[in-house]
Symmetry: C2
Subunit: 109 residues, 2 copies
DNA sequence: TTGACATGTGACCAAAAGGTCACGTATAAT
DNA sequence: ATTATACGTGACCTTTTGGTCACATGTCAA
């Protein structure tokens, strides 16, 4: 059984395309600052800041301050927990194979 | 690089607690009808129907009609694709171990 | 210590999402 | 044929969310 609060913050955080894009950028290279990430997105600094805050509160991003800079790092654990919620160990191999196949097909098609 | 459309439908679908609860019920037992699922939720039939439609359009649920009934089945492939987007093969083992640990801790704590 | 840089806050507004209801269609049972 | 069942649609309203801006704080360099 799950708590009432669920993992709501994580799912809400992932629901926005801009936030997913930010996660993609951090997946590619960790430790970026707000100003760096700002240049990756068609949006004012304030919008990006809000999004990063949502990601951080969800635990998908952890931060480290260094002087006047704030560095952002991707934390993949909540993602894995989503996976484990609806894919048990017995079906994991089968599903991951299908997912791989789908990925290949979309790449060529 | 990803398409502009992203997997928006999947993430939006997962963003609502009621829809996640419906997925949980289908994970537990497949093939339920709308009326069956309705009893699992504090909401009118119309709300549940909307939610199921969102899940179906996202590809998280597939359906099969039989007479006047419509049966719903969980499709875990999109979930796996989320996983693969931010967890590569090299970090998967480490992250899944951490996730397992977190799960055990929360269970006892 | 003056000025530029990096991040932060609260108010505000438009757009999207969640939920209900009146009404409607198709299938099954009596 | 009539009634009950199971699902479907469109309009409607309320709440939440995404984005911007004026303003503000803390940090580094010259």
């Amino acid at each position: 059984m799950r708590s009432v609060e669920d993992d709501d913050g994580v799912f809400k955080a992932l629901a926005d395309p801009t936030r997913r894009h930010l996660l993609d950028r951090l997946f590619e290279r960790d430790g970026r600052t707000l100003t760096e990430l700002e240049s990756e997105v068609e949006m004012t600094r304030f919008g990006v800041m809000k999004h990063l805050r949502v990601l951080e509160e969800a635990g998908l991003v952890v931060t480290r301050r260094s002087g006047r800079e704030k560095h952002h790092y991707l934390n993949p654990v909540p993602i894995r927990l989503i996976h484990d919620r609806w894919i048990d160990k017995y079906t994991e191999l089968r599903v991951s194979t299908l997912a791989e196949l789908k990925f290949r097909l979309e790449k060529t098609g």
